[in-house]
């Protein structure tokens, strides 16, 4: 059997080299699929068709399996995120402290349901299962930064600041 040669990088975007690095570190083994997808998502912000195809081909994983993995795990996103992301934790402790009201207020303010991005691409509204900071519930992540004991007003202020940027 001829030695396997990984496919060429999709473009000369430097981020592909980082992705390729993860795969090389794992010897292009199939089990590196999730690891590699993590790298793609952290480099590009989301997973598009091209990147899934590239990773699947490089790791010799059937495309169906790669796509199946991407859609199975909540962490992976197939849509590009907005410029800013408001993630509201909806774990049990946050739920008990009224996080559903935060979600409703944010949805109303932005005019989009959770999991979507505003039309101008400015703000994404996401929910998380639990970020493990239950001692400070209710918790939100503003662009990944954890903010505890969040009130509706504080959150709307933040959204307002982002919206006018």
């Amino acid at each position: 059997m001829p030695a396997f040669t990984p496919p060429p990088l999709p473009s000369d975007d430097k981020r592909w080299k980082i992705v390729n690095g993860t795969m090389r570190k794992n010897g292009f083994a199939r089990h590196a699929l999730i690891e590699t997808l993590h790298t793609v998502q952290s480099s590009f912000g989301y997973l598009d068709d091209d990147s899934i195809r590239f990773v699947a081909r490089s790791l010799r994983v059937p495309l169906s399996q790669a796509y199946g993995v991407v859609t199975f795990y909540h962490h992976f996103s197939l849509k590009p995120p907005g410029k800013h992301t408001m993630t509201i934790c909806t774990g049990t402790a946050c739920y008990i402290k009224g996080t559903d009201k935060l979600v409703a207020a944010a949805e109303k303010r932005l005019g989009i349901p959770q999991g979507q991005t505003t039309k101008d691409g400015q703000i994404s509204l996401m929910t998380a299962r639990c970020v493990g900071a239950c001692g400070r519930a209710p918790v939100v992540l503003t662009d990944g930064e954890l903010q505890g004991q969040m009130t509706g007003e504080q959150m709307l202020d933040q959204l307002e600041r982002w919206a006018v940027e």
Binding site: R30, H31, A32, L33, I34, E35, L37, H38, V61, Q65, G68, V69, F72, Y73, H74, H75, F76, T90, G91, T92, A93, C94, Y95, I96, K97, A128, R129, C130, V131, G132, A133, C134, G135, R136, A137, V139, E145, L146, Q147, G148
Partner: protein, 558 residues
């Protein structure tokens, strides 16, 4: 590395610390960091340098009392300050050696005095990113002792003797599990640390990994030696970036010190560990699903047997334990199984870390001996329900557990006692609810969680939880009938008995326990169209009369 070398490192750390009159420990766990304790530490360092006082500012892991963060502990006085921010730095440094600042001091003796710290013994006292700090507190003594003085069998014997049971929730005897993997044939075996802490409301694994990662690694190394494994994986949630960073750092340091890698402590034993990131799937906490995820596949569980102990990762014998289980190993080997077995209740030994959250004054992490009553934890250590509200229920075990009412607060916390009353130890989340929580809505919340997290492999879980969710939503909206309750009970039974894995088998627990202890709230919603807590949006009763309540349907519930 030998015991003498470890002692030398410990001595040099102690000598270094002795140069300072005071140690200022700043909590830099996720909770306090979210309140900018990093800036506080920088400020303290600057102020100390400017003041010329002989004080040392240390970054530490979680001190437990997240409600009062950012926390600062001044040693050797053991003065604990709460809600400290960068503006207080001058005052804190000025008070060193004098009277403590009364306005900032945290006086919660009863909160700390009732706790027994085994897993958390180093949390808040060491810098989690310095391996030498861990070694200075008896770290790696257990590993060296196991490798140089004990046979693998003797290690397993000590663990069995300790009576330690799996801290991930199942409560399977750890010694027995290790024994099975050790006996399994095969030259390649794996050890996996399950840090996929999916239970919403539980954060003890995150905290242990952030505050004392070396302890978990030492536990894994000892386990690998005992069962004959050469490769390990730590599976951590991607939602815990700080834990991943500290763990990465911890592995690098251990390799440098020769405590991980080839020929550890100049013995034939070789072991290395890799980190695998979860990608946000609750079901991956189930061991066979976790294994599938490490193999790079969708995290769907497999029927057992074969158990992972016989055929696990890539078909090889695999030992899977929870973070907290591994964190208990080093002290057991150091002090002996009998020491551990002295703590706790008859069939649940040792201590357990609980994440106390919800409507409770002192939210945070607590570690208590098994057998302590729920009341002691909630009213004593937790400080009770704040803001003049009354206690309604405590939820243990996350989406697999149950809601327990006031009447059951006096039961002792142990695997068996909690199972008996329809709840579960789970990984240790304890969520307190007051009179502003509607128990029907709580049940719906958990079922919604299980519904979205069901992997979809088996029908009872995939379709059953969806049906239960529909029924509960209907009841919450005031459109339920008493017949719906019968159907709900029936569904619960089917899902429990026929689901493939633990997720489905335990998914009905929150519903069954609320039906058992808070039946009146369901009836309120159905018959009186009323939500006493005011959580559910019940529409105004329509002109149609509610269906009559039959005694038959009530009997089913009784």
């Amino acid at each position: 590395m030998t015991i003498e070398e470890l002692d030398q490192i410990a001595e040099s750390v102690h000598a270094e610390n002795a140069k300072f009159d005071h140690e200022i420990n700043v909590c830099m766990g996720t909770g306090c960091l979210s309140q900018h304790s990093d800036k506080l530490r920088d400020e303290l360092t600057n102020v100390v340098a400017a003041s010329g006082k002989k004080a040392f500012v240390r970054r530490t892991g979680c001190m437990g009392l997240c409600a009062a963060g950012p926390l600062v502990l001044v040693d050797p006085e053991e003065t604990l300050y709460q809600h400290v921010n960068a503006a207080h730095a001058e005052a804190v440094v000025a008070s060193l050696g004098g009277e403590p600042i009364a306005a900032l001091q945290c006086n919660l003796r009863e909160h700390f005095d009732q706790q027994v710290h085994v897993v958390l013994e180093n949390s808040g006292h060491i810098d989690p990113e310095k391996i030498d700090d861990y070694i200075a507190r008896d770290g790696y003594q257990a590993l060296v002792k196991a490798l140089t003085e004990m046979s693998p069998n003797e290690v397993i014997q000590q663990i069995t003797e300790s009576g330690l049971r799996g801290r991930g929730g199942g409560g399977y005897p750890t010694g027995l599990k290790w024994g099975t993997v050790a006996k399994a044939s095969g030259d390649l075996k794996y050890v996996i640390c399950n840090g996929d802490e999916g239970d919403p409301g539980a954060f003890m694994d995150r905290s242990v990994l952030e505050s004392d990662p070396q302890r978990v690694l030492e536990g894994m190394c000892i386990a690998a030696y005992a069962v004959g494994a050469s490769k390990g994986y730590v599976y951590v949630r991607a939602e815990y970036p700080l834990a991943v960073a500290r763990l990465t750092n911890c592995l690098r340091d251990a390799r440098r010190r020769g405590l991980l890698g080839n020929n550890i402590c100049n013995t034939p034993f070789s072991f290395d560990v890799e980190i695998r990131l979860g990608a946000g799937a609750f079901v991956c906490g189930e061991e066979t699903a976790l294994i599938a995820s490490i193999e790079g596949k969708r995290g769907t569980p497999k029927p057992r047997p074969p158990y992972p102990a016989v055929s696990g990762l890539w078909g090889k014998p695999t030992l899977i334990n929870n973070v907290e289980t591994f964190a208990n190993i080093a002290p057991i080997i150091r002090k002996g199984g009998k020491w551990f077995a002295c703590m706790g209740s008859e069939r649940s030994k040792g201590t357990k870390v609980f994440a106390l959250t919800g409507k409770i004054t002192n939210t945070g992490l607590v570690e208590v001996p098994m057998g302590i009553s729920l009341r002691q934890i909630i009213e004593g250590i937790g400080g009770g329900v704040p803001d003049g509200h009354t206690f309604k229920a405590v939820q243990t075990g996350g989406p697999s557990g149950g809601c327990l009412p006031t009447e059951l607060l006096d039961i002792g916390v142990s695997y068996d006692a909690l199972l008996k009353v329809g709840a579960m130890m789970g990984s240790g989340g304890m969520i307190v609810m007051d009179d502003t929580s509607c128990m029907v809505n709580v049940a719906r919340f958990f079922i919604e969680f299980c519904m979205t997290e069901s992997c979809g492999k088996c029908i009872p879980c995939r379709a059953g939880t969806a049906q239960m969710h529909t029924l509960l939503t209907r009841i919450c909206a005031g459109h339920g009938t008493m017949a719906d309750l019968d159907l709900l009970v029936d569904l619960c039974g089917t899902i429990k008995e026929t689901s493939l894995c633990g997720l489905g088998q335990t998914a009905p627990n929150p519903v069954l326990s609320t039906l058992k202890y808070f039946k009146n709230e369901y009836i309120d919603h159905i018959v009186h169209k009323r939500c006493a807590a005011g959580v559910c949006n019940i529409e105004a009763p329509s002109a149609v009369e509610p269906p009559p309540t039959t005694t038959a349907s009530l009997e089913v519930l009784a």
